[in-house]
């Protein structure tokens, strides 16, 4: 049994608190609901003490101390709110403001900005210091991410998320002193860097220095164009998060309201990416069985997560054969929209404007990939908007999603299974595959469809499964830094797995780079990832069908259009190939 950690007793602002040894003063304060201001702190990711907003006074200790990194000690008496301390922080804030592009009203983070929060908290009435501004560099060459150094406050959350969580290190601090800025090696655009477009930097940026590349303007034009048949598909995780943008609690499942809102804003059809996910399972599981049977490359790794594909192409080009060749659910559905659906409705695919509502910034780069283009040269998906972008659009159109009545997706690409729904959370793709693999192999249905071993927030989860009487080890990996460990094992020949699910972001798509922002203090109080995941598991439980192969739509599509999973036509339409990507090349 693990030894219980020693408890430390201290007093903060006159209130006693008891915490485990090793806890920082900041976290001890949070335990008793004292919100010591921070701009840079991110637990275990950015504990660097940069921003100076969390300074506290400790009795008997000289000078102010950085509470985010200072460990609580027995008997400590801490003050977070003395007059001098507040005055000092106000001045630090003034200094930050003096080097910050204060065009708040035109900033995408207006009213959702940690710096604004603190200005309010410290009653900033005017700007005290004027002077030279840091060099303003706008890097908007990437399809996914826009960086604006004029808004950056150099908290370095982005740098350390990229490095520690994703193992990508596309950005780092360069130059020093007042000339310091977050930049890319060789002063290149982030597009040419190791960046995979995941957008974890965006969701952790306390201000508006990092945003997704917006294609909303194009979308609005398409919606206004009466000649265009504008359809939208929605990723599994969006329904578990978009409600937050409309004041609903974290973890609200708003599938029906979301469909209603999208219909209201003018989409001709609202389809469900989850159906694409069901088809992905048919293809991927069949591919896995075929690899098992025919001695193909193992372990096979899932290929739904866009950032992951880019990561593999940039960091592990020698492992590309391990990736399933199945396209992502978004691309599969996009392809079906412009082929199966277009034919069925007798619409020229050129007249279809196909939009995907995604939790993800990386998907914006996926849709322009050459190898994903259809035979007629069209993109399967024309535009990707993130959850946040869509929420803004809806608000602009006076649509309050929270107030709408539920509506259903449009057929023939509407109904999906519970297996498709859980694609949005880590472990979901693997669980969905496991629900179908035996059936696809020999028609056996498994009894229990819930695989608890691969649910939850651990970065690497393992399980053993029986396929045709043989035991196979499988793994579920999230966060690219952890994924690297799994890949290194494959590289070294020590991997014990047959099948691996990879998701780029911690928690999977529900915590993707395009999802609603939750400020760090709030995120320390509620487990955002598991609440959103729970919503998807509820959707799964309530679904009429919980196995992809049971989906009547899926059956129909194969029967009428595709033929066999992994067959000739599905291979042509639903599978792709991967290529090594060079980085830092002009």
């Amino acid at each position: 049994m693990e030894e219980a950690k020693k408890m430390i007793n201290l007093t903060i602002d006159g209130k006693k608190v008891s915490v485990e040894e090793g806890t920082s003063i900041l976290e001890a304060a949070r335990k008793i609901d004292i919100d010591v201001p921070t701009l840079c702190f991110l637990k275990e990711i950015n504990e660097v003490g940069n921003c100076r907003m969390c300074l506290v006074e400790i009795e008997g200790v000289r000078g102010y101390k950085t509470s985010c990194v200072y460990p609580a000690e027995e008997g400590m008496v801490v003050r977070t709110n003395t007059k001098d301390l507040i005055e000092t922080k106000r001045e630090v804030l003034q200094l930050i403001l003096s080097a910050h592009d204060k065009k708040c009203l035109s900033c995408v983070r207006n009213t959702n900005c940690r710096l604004q929060d603190l200005c309010k908290k410290f009653e900033i009435e005017d700007y005290d210091y004027e002077g030279e501004m840091p060099e303003a560099i706008l890097d908007d060459a990437s399809e996914c991410i826009v960086r604006n150094t004029a808004k950056c406050i150099l908290c370095r959350r982005c740098v350390n998320v990229c490095k520690k969580v994703q193992g990508v290190s596309a950005i780092s601090v360069m130059n020093r002193g007042f000339k310091s800025r977050v930049g890319v090696a060789l002063n290149m655009s982030i597009k040419k860097s190791t960046c995979v477009g995941c957008g974890q930097c965006i969701i952790h940026c306390p201000v508006g220095a990092l945003t997704e590349k917006s294609n909303v303007k194009e979308l609005k034009e398409a919606l206004a164009d009466s000649k265009k048949h504008v359809v939208i598909q929605t990723a599994p995780s969006v329904r578990a998060a978009i409600g937050e943008e409309f004041g609903m609690p974290i973890g609200s499942l708003v599938t029906g309201k979301m469909v209603a809102a999208l219909r209201k804003i003018g989409f001709d059809r609202v389809f469900d990416t989850d159906l694409g996910a069901d088809i992905t399972i048919m293809e991927e599981a069949t591919e896995f069985i075929s690899r098992l049977k025919n001695g193909g490359k193992l372990p096979m790794i899932t290929s739904c997560s866009s950032g992951w594909i880019t990561f593999a192409e940039k960091f592990y080009p020698e492992q590309l054969e391990n990736l399933s060749t199945a396209k992502s659910p978004m691309e599969i559905l996009g392809t079906l929209i412009k082929t199966y659906y277009a034919a069925k409705m007798n619409i020229d695919p050129k007249d279809i404007y196909s939009v995907a509502l995604m939790p993800c910034s990386a998907k914006k780069a996926e849709i322009v990939r050459d190898e994903l283009k259809l035979d007629n040269g069209l993109q399967a998906v024309d535009n990707v908007v993130t959850t946040r972008e869509m929420a803004r659009m809806l608000k602009e159109s006076n649509i309050d999603l929270a107030m709408l009545d539920d509506e259903d997706f449009d057929e023939p690409l509407g109904e999906a299974t519970g297996a498709g729904h859980i694609f949005g959370t880590t472990g979901g793709v693997m669980e969905a595959a496991l629900r179908s693999v035996s059936y696809l192999l020999d028609g056996t249905e498994i009894e229990n469809v819930e695989f608890n071993a691969i649910r939850g927030s651990k970065n690497i989860k393992e399980a053993e499964i029986q396929i045709a009487g043989k035991t196979h080890k499988i793994a579920v990996a999230q966060s690219l830094a952890s994924v690297s460990q799994v890949l290194d094992e494959i590289k070294n020949g020590t991997s014990k797995y047959s099948f691996i699910e990879v998701m780029t972001c911690p928690g999977g798509c529900i915590n993707g780079g395009g999802q609603p922002l939750v400020n760090e203090y709030k995120a320390s109080k509620v487990d955002v990832i598991s609440l959103r995941a729970k919503a998807l598991y509820v959707a799964d439980k309530e679904a009429k069908y919980r196995r992809s192969h049971e989906n009547p739509n899926v059956k129909l599509i194969y029967e009428k259009f595709l033929g066999e999973p992994n067959g000739k036509k599905s291979h042509e339409l639903l599978h792709t190939k991967y290529n090594k990507q060079d980085v830092y090349v002009d």
Partner: protein, 607 residues
């Protein structure tokens, strides 16, 4: 070949014999080398050969009297030759052969030649402990170091003292960190020794960065083994087998000497496995810094050694608990180490008998600025600034008045006339708004504008701030902007309050020592020279005449003899008038205040 204690003793006594014979020691520190002492050494050797002399001709470390360089001392007579030129080589050799002296190269005081170098006024009040071997031994010859009881302290420690005894000796000596902050060295050793870990490190901070400071450089150039030996002793005391010296790449001579010294010490088995036949292993590696001032801060230094961006880490954890590569690490400055062997050999009582109550031993200062005897001096703690400036430094050139002394570099402050009698120790300097710092001591005369001086140091800090925390990154920049404004005649009445407010925020909110002390030059000049700030702001006047925007060069028509010399010399054609046709006048819109005309006017009509 690994040497035994006996073999070291033999080397010691043999080399001591060499010291009795005639030796020409020429300074090969950076200062004298830049005045061609390397060429002189070559020439001396050449002439020695030509003239058939067997006199030993060697390079040595810094004598300290840099204003008089290149310097040569003839041993064992200790004859001092100053400002030697390559052409003097032949006469020097001939004099050695004939047992005479080259009088034209000898210094004189009160019309009398000074026969031995220690008799110079410059050295009178000095006490050389850390610099003991500089100027006496060849730093590239380990045998010479051994001959002056080198590696005897290490032998004493390894064969006769427990770890605790070593730490206690250092503790009882009262030695405090010479890098600036003055933390008790023994305590640091104690803390690091108490940390439990399989691996620990001993680091030497040789990232000397204060403008005008060269104490550590001179020690490394003149006596590198004293640092290596002390690090090995520290390694034994705290339980470490690996040392790192972090030295600036801009110190090529020091780096080279360190490389040679490490190689020689390894060859003799004084570094490496089973030192002196004991079970103690210790090795030292060099790491070159790229010259960022902040890398002198201990945690930034460790980041840099680890190959990371050189910027400070928050403390705790302190290096003694979690330092280099996350292992307990002892970090001391070069000069601190240079004292350690002397303490071990002579005892803690000997060391603590030097200095004041709270500050023991000596301190090396790099004396610079408006002072006659620019150079490196080592004085017992408690010596007054007046003694350093006037008795050792020889006062201010040109009969000008003393205005202030700046200690502690960009972290320190300016000390005015009224505090000249302050005894130098850690506490007294802090009390008067400055700090000991690593030992830069810049003297300023009455022609220096204190606002401009504050601006100079702020410029340095702004350049050298790592950029990690906003108070330092943006705060120092904003302070500099205000100071620049003031020196350009655009100062506002509220600027002084703003400067003080900013200074306090930067002091209280910054992450590391660099930021926390960055406002000191401004605070201390505001404290002692507030009038000058007010004069700049309210009267738009710079009394010292340094701030060009605030000075006016004017020709006094009554004194002007209409000769036109000023006009001929003016680089911007700012002087109007014709010879013998009335007094000349300066067009203020064209004048760049270079004051060439002031210097050239034979009638002192321009000021």
């Amino acid at each position: 070949m690994q040497k035994t204690s006996k073999e070291l003793r033999d080397i010691r006594s043999n080399t001591k014999l060499k010291f009795k014979s005639s030796r020409i020691m020429i300074c090969s520190g950076t200062g004298c080398t830049s005045s061609k002492s390397d060429k002189i050494l070559e020439e001396l050797k050449k002439k020695g050969k030509e003239l058939g002399s067997d006199v030993i001709i060697e390079k040595t470390g810094c004598f300290g009297f840099c204003a008089k360089g290149p310097i040569i001392v003839i041993e064992p007579e200790q004859t001092f030759y100053e400002m030697v030129k390559v052409e003097d080589s032949e006469d020097i050799i001939k004099a050695v052969i004939s047992g005479t002296k080259v009088e034209r190269l000898m210094p004189s005081e009160n019309d009398k030649f000074i026969q031995k170098w220690h008799e110079l006024n410059f050295y009178n009040k000095q006490k050389r402990v850390a610099l003991k071997n500089c100027g006496y031994i060849n730093p590239e010859d380990i045998d010479e170091y051994i001959a002056v009881d080198g590696y005897l302290a290490l032998e004493k420690v390894l064969t006769g003292l427990t770890k605790n005894e070593v730490i206690n000796t250092v503790l009882e000596s009262g030695l405090r960190g010479r890098g600036g902050a003055g933390f008790p060295t023994g305590k640091k050793w104690q803390f690091t020794a108490a940390s439990k870990s399989d691996v620990k490190y001993v680091c030497c901070n040789a990232d000397e960065g204060d403008p005008g400071a060269f104490m550590d450089r001179s020690i490394l150039e003149g006596d590198p083994h004293s640092v290596l030996e002390a690090m090995a002793i520290a390694g034994y005391a705290i339980g470490s087998n690996q040392g790192y010296i972090y030295v600036r790449a801009e110190y090529p001579i020091a780096v080279e000497r360190l490389k040679i010294a490490i190689k020689q010490a390894k060859k003799y088995g004084l570094l490496g496995k089973n030192i002196l036949g004991t079970d103690f292993d210790f090795d030292i590696e060099l790491r070159l810094g790229a010259g960022a001032f902040v890398c002198g801060e201990e945690t930034a230094l460790m980041n840099s050694i680890e190959g990371k961006r050189g910027e400070p880490r928050p403390r705790p954890p302190f290096p003694a608990v979690k330092g280099l590569f996350a292992k307990p690490t002892l970090l001391n400055n070069v000069e601190t180490y240079a004292n350690v062997c002397q303490i071990i050999l002579n005892g803690s009582e000997w060391f603590s008998s030097i200095g004041t109550n709270t500050s023991k031993g000596t301190k090396v200062f790099a004396l610079g600025g408006n002072i006659n005897n620019v150079g490196l001096v080592e004085v017992p703690m408690g010596t007054t600034l007046r003694e350093i400036v006037y008795d050792i430094g020889g006062g201010i050139p040109g009969g000008k008045k003393f205005k202030a002394a700046q200690t502690g570099g960009p972290s320190g402050g300016c000390i005015p006339n009224q505090h000249l009698d302050t005894p130098i120790d850690y506490e007294s300097l802090t009390q008067i708004g400055s700090m000991m710092g690593s030992g830069g001591l810049i003297v300023m005369d009455e022609t220096k504008c204190m606002v401009n001086i504050a601006k100079f140091f702020l410029e340095f800090t702004v350049d050298e701030s790592c950029g990690k925390c906003p108070s330092c990154r943006i705060g120092t920049k904003r302070m500099l902007e205000i100071l620049t404004r003031i020196t350009e005649g655009k100062g506002k009445v509220e600027d002084i309050d703003r400067l003080e407010k900013l200074a306090n925020v930067i002091k209280n909110a910054s992450l590391c020592g660099l930021g926390q002390t960055a406002p000191n030059p401004v605070l201390s000049t505001l404290k002692y020279f507030r009038d000058e700030y007010v004069d700049h702001i309210e009267n738009k006047n710079c009394a010292a005449g340094e701030c060009k925007a605030l000075t006016k060069v004017i020709i006094n028509p009554e004194k002007c003899k209409e000769c036109g010399i000023c006009q001929k010399n003016c680089p911007t054609n700012a002087i109007m008038g014709e010879v013998r046709k009335g007094p000349f006048e300066i067009d203020q819109t064209k004048c760049i205040k270079c004051k060439v005309c002031v210097a050239k006017c034979p009638f002192k009509a321009i000021s």
